[in-house]
């Protein structure tokens, strides 16, 4: 299993595991709620709710 670190889920306040190699700006799915969370800092990893999908997103 890949290395993980813990971070606080911004929605539930629970400690969750996230991959250790996350990047600022990356999106992860909360294992608690399934919500998309954005990595806003690393070392330590801080998360916030990711922005909602916008109509002009894509390729």
């Amino acid at each position: 299993m890949a290395d993980t670190v813990t971070a606080e889920d911004p929605i539930t306040g629970e400690e969750i595991e996230v991959p250790a190699d996350v990047e600022v700006g990356e999106i992860i799915d909360s294992p608690v709620t399934g919500a998309e969370l954005e990595v806003i800092s690393v070392d330590p990893v801080e998360l916030e709710e990711a922005p909602e999908l916008e109509e002009d997103w894509g390729e």
Binding site: E23, V24, G25, G58
Partner: protein, 299 residues
Amino acid sequence: MNVGICYSRIRRDEKLLLSELRDRGHEIEKIDVRKQTFSLSEPPEAFADVDVLVDRCLATSRSLYTTRFAEAYGIPIVNSAETAAICANKVRNSLALERAGVPTPATDVAFTKESAMDIVERFGYPCVLKPVIGSWGRLMAKLDSESAAEAIFEHKETLGHYEHKVFYIQEFVDKPGRDIRVVALDGEPVGAMVRKSDHWLTNAAKGAETEEFELDDEARELVAEASAAVGGGLLGVDLMETGEPQGSQSSGQDARESGYTVHEVNHNVEFKALNEAADVDVPAAVVDWLEDTVAGVES
């Protein structure tokens, strides 16, 4: 080299690119465009030391303005603002392909639902209504009947943003349950895959299965021409197989016989699916190309 990655979300694609750049020892400036301000004359501080900017903005609107500002400051950016502007808008995309003589599905545009119905009646059912700006197969409608067409046009006219009142209607291409995505660098294919689905939409984002595809000479030629038509760069060229040479698939005067039709060129191409489906290293090819691009700028 110092590469500025303009982003608002780090997808798997950007992560692959970042990893390749780091492995080769390049400096990276990760530039979250949401945190930048753009003056008319002075670039943001984050742009100061970069040799090249790579536009990886997930939001088309941000991509369009970021590329414009970068060029105004004289900072090299891939893809170019013009390529982004053409690819971001399906009308401009289709016009560019048509002008370049690239086979592309017959497409007409109207501004009212009455005129849109005239197009649909001319094309016959089914035909396809696409949003002028949009991606991942969203808001695409296959118009199977007059009543469905009328209802969709009315909804778009009543509920939509003004861009939804531009009705972009395309003939339905009866493709063989798959389309082809080619990732290309200035018209040279890096790799290709088919996207297969039982659904009429075969976008990877819609869950289509992917599989490596071997391009023939004709497809390679069309990719090069489609790339040139929109100004080149790191692009995703989408083709459908028409089953037989069908010059009539193109709406132009100079329609030529082709077994393919090019329906779209994407300027902010996602390549993770191709990287997994095909025996190619897309990020390595992209970084090779960036190194050449920067060397070209500096010489």
